[in-house]
Amino acid sequence: MSFVIADNIFQSYGNRPILEQVSLEVDEGEFVSIVGASGCGKSTFLRLLLAQETPTRGAITVDGNPPAVEPGLERGVVFQKYSTFPHLTVRDNIVAGESFRRPWGRFFGAAQRAARARADETLVRIGLDHVADQYPATLSGGMQQRLAIGQALVARPRILLLDEPFGALDPGTRLSMHDFLTELRAETGMTVFMVTHDLEEGFKLGDRVIVFDKPRWDPDDPGAFGATITYDFDARNGGFPYQTIKEKTHVLRSN
């Protein structure tokens, strides 16, 4: 059975359908890029995955659990903006990833010191240890997004949702963030959904690229029909399918 299952999702706001007949099965550890034109419901789909909204019809299950009604520890999220807490230092932002689930939202005494030490290790790993005592507002855009991803990951979510995480970054920073994300993913083996406008980015990072579009279009009433998944590409091996040998065999190997 698949890890994340979206079963015949419909979502409409009032009379306006946004998504219709969206079905998707994703295995654990897959990286799914979601692309599509603006207003085609990809962000809506991400909000549904996040359980920030519940679908009008159908349900999304993660690991066979009952559908969530609000965002929880199972899901981690990074938005394009506002993903870090401006009133906490960089170190405390990382600590928050562990401490917000506690009764008062914080650690005390020895647990606090231990959490700070762990946060420092995380900061070294994501390359932000030199700004541990600064506030997020003083960091560059790329560093803020690295912090946001690190913060989401220390909470150990089952699935990570990225909503155009690199949309506001310059091309150079964006490339280094790709490497950063690829590394983290190799380490954690996490299931990732990423909404992006950049097709190249989607194919580079994703194992699968799914495209949202409207299959039916009424020229007199553009809002009459919702969008659905129109393409589902296998993006591994640079987008060329059937490159991996599934059987354990020595045939076709050079040595």
Binding site: E70, P71, L73, K81, Y135, A152
Partner: protein
């Protein structure tokens, strides 16, 4: 519902209920403090609730995905972020606060700067009045400056984002 209640309460002109305060709390200091409290608090409450609503939705969602309860979001995410704004609006409310104080002292008091201004009014003692006005301005400025310093000290991150 509570915001509707506060919205109605904040429309009551504080000076109009000053006589009631004098009847209930007597002519002493208590009625003046209560007048300032009644005059300022609804404005502060409305400002705070508005600022809390203006916090980005993403931040709440992010906190929820980190496992935060409603209580934790209120205490660890929303409250710390509106506190510097609270100080800011207290600073802006200093003017009305002084207005209420001097108005109350002008009507019923036997000491205080506002009382003395209205006492010497009958002698047309402009030199004394101006001196008192200067004193009040200085005091108000010092309070404002102290609040600003407090805000800087207590919420350095708010300065960083400006």
């Amino acid at each position: 519902m509570f915001s509707g209640f506060v919205a109605v309460i904040s429309m009551i002109p504080p000076l109009a209920i000053l006589p009631i305060l004098f009847i209930v709390f007597g002519l002493g200091e208590a009625s003046k403090i209560v007048l300032i409290f009644i005059g300022i608090t609804p404005v502060l409450i409305r400002d705070m609730s508005q600022r809390t609503l203006e916090l980005p939705r993403e931040m709440t969602v992010k906190a929820e995905t980190l496992g935060a309860s409603t209580m934790t979001i209120a205490l660890r995410v929303a409250l710390p972020q509106v506190l510097p704004r609270l100080i800011q609006s207290v600073r802006l409310s200093l003017g009305p606060a002084w207005l209420f104080l001097i108005a109350a002292e002008a009507i019923a008091s036997d000491l205080g700067l506002g009382y003395r201004i209205f006492l010497v009014r009958r002698y047309l003692a402009m030199d004394v009045i101006l001196t008192y006005v200067l004193w009040i301005t200085l005091l108000a400025f010092l309070i404002d400056w102290a609040l600003k310093a407090l805000s800087r000290k207590a919420f350095p991150w708010a300065e960083a984002s400006l």
